[in-house]
Amino acid sequence: MTNAKAPPRPILNLQNVHIHIGQHHILQGITFDVEAGRPTVLLGRNGAGKSSTLRTIVGLHPVTSGVIQFSGATIQGLKPFEITRLGIGFTPEDQGVFYNLTVEENFRLSLFEETKQTQMNLETIFELFPDLKKFWRTKAGLLSGGQKQMLGIARAFVNDHKVLLIDEPSKGLAPILVEHLGVSLNKIKDKTTVVLVEQNFYLASQVGADYFILDNGQVVHKGQMKDLVDDQALKKKYLGIG
């Protein structure tokens, strides 16, 4: 008998995933694990395949080859609604908010099962994003860019998903709103496993525990965020910052 602990089982696991969109080979063998409870950030330049990776996980792009597992079960080939109902929430780059529906209707649509937990989630959402309560009966199209972004994230969070995929939440937001977003994401990451695609390195470093750098549809580097923050050469090489 040994005292060695078994390695933590990943909640989300991609093995050698390839996708094609039209003639283009977009993901070229993506492999990474996300551990439960550890917020993970996908970094990389524009066109590296970050957003495509999230869209592939939720079934919006068909997998050409490779395996995607969620809580040990293979999910590639499932339809997006089946993947969502297994417990993966997704907020796309454009927020995915329904502009012609009210804030309340956006939530009602997302809430496919009303439980005590979802009610608690809603209360948490109102604490994190008080504007959403204030504009509860307002059409989402009339909200500001920041409020729409909050709604997009909050809506995915309401369902008690085990994993929440969030694509570039800071895109187009003023610095003060990015600051507020960071605070909110840090609270959300305590309640679910967040996988974040983010160009804003400051926000990414505030939220993430682990990171994967993507380039040309492949993972080219991975590690813990605290190490990357100080690694100027790596940041310069792959992210163009430093």
Binding site: P80, F81, F90, P92, G96, E105, S110
Partner: protein, 314 residues
């Protein structure tokens, strides 16, 4: 805006104007019954379904012709009581709706599912389906016009201060308004309606929100087809005859209404149907040969001012 409705009074005396207005409203409601399903199907599914005319014809033959003939053998239609007349109409409408929905189900599952997102193929295939069903109707029933019975208590007309209002026209207005109210109720007060409204805006996100969009498409297509079936039933009873070409004949009006209203908008179709119904009746009274041309002119004018129709969204 509403003032435009009174312009025909310049040429038409008050009493015939009121008669034409009630007749125009009834015609508008018939048109709405055809157009509503077409616009819902386009709005959610982005399908240009020209086979909608065939679903209209199916409703006419199954509901208006077949069921009323059957019920007449029981003495419920031409000799029945007021209650039997109403039940006969209700059963005819129900059968028209079920017939339309079932054919719609087969059409969506077997054919249209393969051409989602390709308007050119949709137009070609659905026109083909329209002609095939029209020919099948000739084989299953008769290639010639057949008389359709009108339930006894819906025959004749009311005389309200010299304004003659046909009983069945009045019924058409009631059914049309009830359909509009029902559709609004479903769209605005139910979860299905919420999903449909969201799906019109962003189908992908509806899937990601956890809903089986494929199943919702089928349900919506069947509902749209059922509305066409109801329209067909009501129209053939009003016309007191049914022909295999009934769907083809009404398709042009349905398209005008859907385009005027704004593709995908039920409220737009409701308004468009009233505009087309009224203008057609006024024009048919004043310049009979120009009636259809005036409707097309109205459509062109509205599209010049609002390229996406009255209620169409960018």
């Amino acid at each position: 805006m509403l003032g435009i409705l009174f312009v025909p009074l310049v040429w038409i005396k008050l009493t015939p104007y009121l008669v034409l207005t009630t007749a125009g409203l009834a015609f508008g409601m018939f048109l709405f019954m055809v157009a509503s399903g077409m616009t819902i199907i386009f709005g959610l599914m982005d399908i240009l379904n020209l086979a909608h005319g065939a679903l209209f014809a199916i409703g006419a033959y199954l509901g208006g012709y077949q069921i009323l003939n059957l019920l007449n053998t029981l003495g419920w239609v031409e000799n029945g009581t007021a209650g039997q007349s109403m039940v006969s109409l209700l059963l005819a409408i129900s059968m028209g709706a079920v017939g339309g929905a079932l054919v719609g189900f087969i059409l969506e599952r077997l054919i249209l599912r393969r051409v989602y997102g390709d308007h050119l193929k949709q137009i070609m295939i659905t026109i083909g389906v329209l002609y095939v069903i029209t020919e099948l109707i000739k084989i299953l029933w008769k290639p010639t016009a057949e008389p359709v019975l009108v339930p006894l208590s819906l025959q004749g007309s009311y005389d309200v201060f010299d304004v003659i209002i046909g009983k069945f026209r009045l019924m058409a207005i009631i059914v049309g308004v009830a359909m509009f109210a029902g559709i609004q109720l479903v769209l605005n007060r139910t979860k299905l309606g919420l999903i449909i409204r969201a799906g019109v805006e962003n189908r992908e996100m509806v899937q990601v929100a956890g809903y089986n969009i494929g199943r919702i498409f089928t349900v919506v297509f069947m509902a749209g087809a059922a509305l066409a079936g109801i329209g067909g039933t009501m129209w053939c009873i009003f016309q007191q005859q049914v022909t295999p070409e009934i769907g083809l004949d009404n398709l042009i009006f349905a398209l005008i209404v859907v385009i005027i209203g704004g593709m995908g908008s039920v409220t737009g179709s409701f308004l468009g149907a009233i505009i087309v119904g009224l203008s057609f009746n006024y024009a048919a009274f004043l310049w009979p040969k120009l009636a259809l041309g005036i409707n097309i002119l109205i459509m062109a004018t509205i599209l010049l001012i609002r390229p996406r129709g009255l209620m169409g969204k960018e």
